[in-house]
Symmetry: C2
Subunit: 184 residues, 2 copies
């Protein structure tokens, strides 16, 4: 398989770290892959910026940080401005159209989806925005299956909240499905 | 400051990853330090083993993985058998006496505390065991303050559950305080 070098970036409270851990666990525990997940907290973290890295591969992963992602998710304009230049040629750059204007040219497929708006309209709870983003991301890349994500969520989330998370995941999948970048 | 190279190890469900993230956030967001937190998921993860690394420093952190921890926490016998040989000379090896027998000689201060038992006796919820471990660890090392941990918990945990977490943290601090390894 292609090695996935994924960066989730945004601001603290958007659930970027949690989304990246759910993805890494889905890959490793339910898809038989190797995964490494990490985050660095420096001065930017104190300003509210967050970045989490995930590498997924069927082979051993030696260096755990991502320098050039092939999948980059930016959930704030600041994150987009900072990281969009790092994407690998031909990679996928996913943003949320409520938070980010795609104002740069990058040598990658850029896609802004209305994830936040749809989560707020249909669920009304910003806390599951990160799960919707995860749904869109796996809908576009198929790096792991929806079932594997749901298994991880089932082990982490109290039963009463699982349905809301599943709905957020499905919103993300539907947005990916309807997008011009839907991969084959 | 001394650079802290910390490894939390145990089994899935013991909250090792969460504890390590809370520690890293406390250091970076509330103590002005740099922190990197990571975990690798390989074949061991599918067997239920978990390991999370945290590096904390007042200087830049280049390589995010810990090879030789100076603080090693082992919450299962398997983790102890696997990692106890990696500790730096003079380091601190903290285990839980319900889960681990200290049956090896290591060139480090070894300490088994009855954290799990005390959490179950006094709170009755295994879900806060990891917070108790974190309390014992900061009680022994002073790598971050109790207040910084509480600030992170306050931002993550619903108000109704915060008190239980605070109590678990205090149990850990008390166990550290009463231990023969209490640092100056």
């Amino acid at each position: 398989m292609e090695r996935y070098r994924i960066v989730f970036s945004g601001s603290g409270g958007q659930g970027v770290v949690t989304a990246s851990i759910i993805l890494a666990e889905a890959a490793a525990l339910h898809e038989g892959l190797n995964a490494v997940q990490s985050q660095s907290y420096g001065p930017e973290a104190r300003g509210g910026a967050t970045r989490a890295d995930v590498i997924i591969s069927d082979r051993a992963i030696r260096f755990p940080k991502v320098n050039q992602p092939n999948v980059l998710i930016c959930l704030t304009q600041e994150a987009y401005n900072k990281y969009s230049g790092t994407i690998r040629p031909g990679g996928l750059l996913l943003t949320d159209s409520h938070f980010v204007k795609l104002e740069r040219k990058v040598d990658a497929r850029q896609l802004g989806l209305g994830m936040y708006k749809k989560v707020m309209d249909e669920i009304g709870k910003p806390v599951v925005f990160n799960i919707c983003v995860l749904g869109a991301m796996i809908g576009l890349t198929h790096v792991v299956s929806t079932e594997s994500i749901m298994k991880v969520l089932g082990g982490k989330i109290p039963p009463g909240f699982l349905e809301m998370n599943q709905k957020a995941l499905e919103i993300g999948l539907q947005l990916a499905e309807g997008s011009p970048l839907k991969s084959k």
